[in-house]
Symmetry: C2
């Protein structure tokens, strides 16, 4: 990639982030009456549902503090992060210490789910905000919640299966890939934010999660990272869950591990992560229409999810950053080709030139299926994270003269 | 509709039912080793998942006995119904009397869900089989299970909300349309099957469910039947659930009530049911590509379900039979036009000319999204029910000289 192309891309990602994505969310989602953010928005940014998913509060709180920590110290970003953190602290927690899945606009609990992602995104927001504000109290909240999540997860598995898919665990015990994957990234964020004199043993904790990913879910003989396996990593090939690959998810895992390999200058770990990326791109790229399929059956059978062949915004975000990171770490031409191909497909379809930000969901053939900007899962997270991370990485590539 | 057209259609539905649909399921789904039916099949009829949804067992058990009761007394249909009933009796019930949602091929429990549809389809199978076999013991099981379901449903609402969507009921109590709707049809089936000297008060029980549909869910001022409302039928227009119309579901409700109106020769009830049909066709028919949309937002906002604009097999089944029944009961030309339009769209897309039976799921534009024949919801039910009911109704129209 030429320096000229790198500089151009860096400007474009920065401008999309700061002139489009962030203003869209701050303008339309900030709830000045009840606090927090209403992120369930239609194409224009009007409210489709006033309920507040706690995932979305944590995610936007993290993004705003991340901008403050990595772009520049704008007080409005710090305040925007605090706006989310305050809402989570005021309305996010149940009496048992767990975080609700969603609350009403006013903050009354609506749903609580078995799995722990609401907690995870609260940890990310607390840690990144704590670093920005140099707030030791919030940092401690983040670390305590991280330990709490790890404890619940350890206790739940495998005795009760309470956090796994809703099966009778005595009949068919299963392991899901998500918790190991998301903990790698969450621990990286808390580690980078922790300015205290008593850090958790982050490297060791991250190692344990990376080890779990490779021990149970990565299948070199199938060239795939599987979403669901048996308790010892057994292939559950009889069932659609056992055969399911989520390429976007696997690509996200790949770049979390690549980031760890970069930090540790661990070439062996990098190669193992790149394998996951290579397999997942090969499996997920739709040779008929382009773009990345949501779910694939590793035996080539019909995937069963209604949405299996839809093109969602977020796997494209993950693939753009993962291929750019792979290019920057290896200099291999194939990653530049993947990056440019995915970027071109994505940028010609997802960004909403009329109302800003991105269309969330396309049909397989690339036509729009949903023009909404936010729902329980889409909010201020994947798009700005990709834009921010790509911009920062491209700047680093320029400084190092990677071109 | 001309007598010639009626006779032609009757032959076509009968032939599709007896020469295609039923052999497909009996050939591919019958599990001679472990009993019951493996209905989660790919396009060719090969197993995609060996797990046995209990819905599917009850449904195929009902269909086979219905053929026996309404087409002719073929011993293989009675045996096929018994094959499902035996599996449900052997492996379907938990210790608390409830029915599992799914079990393994061998019959070990996998999932149990809060809502009561596994029980409902077991009741249908038990009742229809009992009538076919003149088996008073199984008839009593059906009636006991029906009473049990009504008791659980009555106790669960509104105190715990246990059977409603997973919200904190104290924050936002909600009523769903499904249980009233499915009980109308289940009670009709049990009533028709009950040869005992101690029938339940079926008419009164059906009245109560019809009353619930009209009292809470039917909104003449919106020209819609809503899926989810507040405890007293309040419009929850702030939320996507509250604005959601499921046209196929509403059309199914309409014909259950039309069938009751026919039986009672109740013209007022018929008119009220026809209104639901008219509204739901107007809302659900896709003016862009044809076919019936899965979900519609009554305010015209973006529906939020991933699958909102997919064309599923079953709403088309319901709409074909509902419009034919409406035509036969009113003689109104508009229902003939709807019937022919929906039938033409459906028959040119869903039937699988190569491997038999029907493709389950299409994209909005009518292209295939999933070529599977069965999953947790599609099995031997909607397609053969539509074919059987249309055939029987067309024969009745011929006898009455409706043309």
């Amino acid at each position: 990639m030429t320096d000229r192309r790198i500089a151009q891309l860096s400007r474009e990602f920065r401008s999309a982030l700061l002139d489009d994505t962030i203003p869209f969310w701050l303008d339309h989602a900030t709830d000045r009456q009840f606090g927090g953010y209403t992120t369930f928005l239609d194409r224009r940014g009007d409210i489709l549902c006033p309920d507040k998913p706690m995932w979305a509060q944590g995610r936007i709180g993290w993004v705003m503090a991340r901008l403050y920590n990595f772009i520049e110290k704008r007080p409005e970003w710090l305040a925007a992060s605090r706006h989310a953190v305050d809402f989570i602290l005021a309305h996010g927690f149940d009496a048992d210490g767990r975080v609700f899945y969603s609350v009403t606009r006013e903050g009354k609990p609506l749903r609580k789910r078995r799995y722990l992602f609401a907690e995870i995104f609260a940890i990310m927001a607390f840690a990144e905000y704590a670093k920005a504000a140099q707030d030791p109290g919030i940092l401690e909240r983040a670390k305590k919640l991280m330990t709490f999540v790890q404890d619940i997860h350890a206790r739940a598995w495998p005795a009760t299966g309470a956090l796994e898919p809703k099966v009778f665990p005595q009949t068919r015990p299963m392991r899901g890939h998500s918790m190991a994957m998301i903990q790698i990234n969450t621990l990286q964020i808390v580690r980078d934010a922790d300015f205290s004199s008593s850090p958790l043993p982050y490297d060791r904790m991250i190692d344990a999660q990376i080890d779990e990913v490779f021990r149970y879910f990565v299948k070199p003989e199938m060239k795939a990272l599987l979403e669901t396996v048996g308790p010892d990593g057994e292939y559950l090939g009889d069932t659609p869950e056992g055969r399911c690959v989520n390429p976007g998810h696997a690509i996200e895992t790949a770049w979390f591990i690549m980031a760890e390999a970069r930090r540790r200058a661990d070439q062996a770990l990098l190669r193992r992560a790149l394998e996951i990326l290579d397999w997942s791109l090969a499996l997920g790229w739709d040779r008929k229409y382009g773009g990345i399929l949501y779910f694939v059956d590793i035996e080539g059978k019909q995937p069963v999810q209604y949405e299996w062949d839809m093109k969602l915004f977020w796997p494209h975000n993950e693939a753009i950053y993962a291929t750019l990171l792979a290019l920057s770490l290896t200099g291999e031409k194939k990653y530049e080709q993947w990056f440019e191909k995915i970027l071109k497909w994505t940028m010609s379809r997802f960004p909403d030139k009329e109302f800003g930000e991105w269309i969330g969901y396309l049909h397989r053939d690339g036509t729009v299926s949903h023009d909404l900007k936010g729902n329980m899962w889409k909010g201020c997270f994947h798009v700005p994270r990709m834009q921010l991370y790509c911009h920062l990485l491209l700047e680093e590539m320029l400084r190092k003269g990677a071109g």
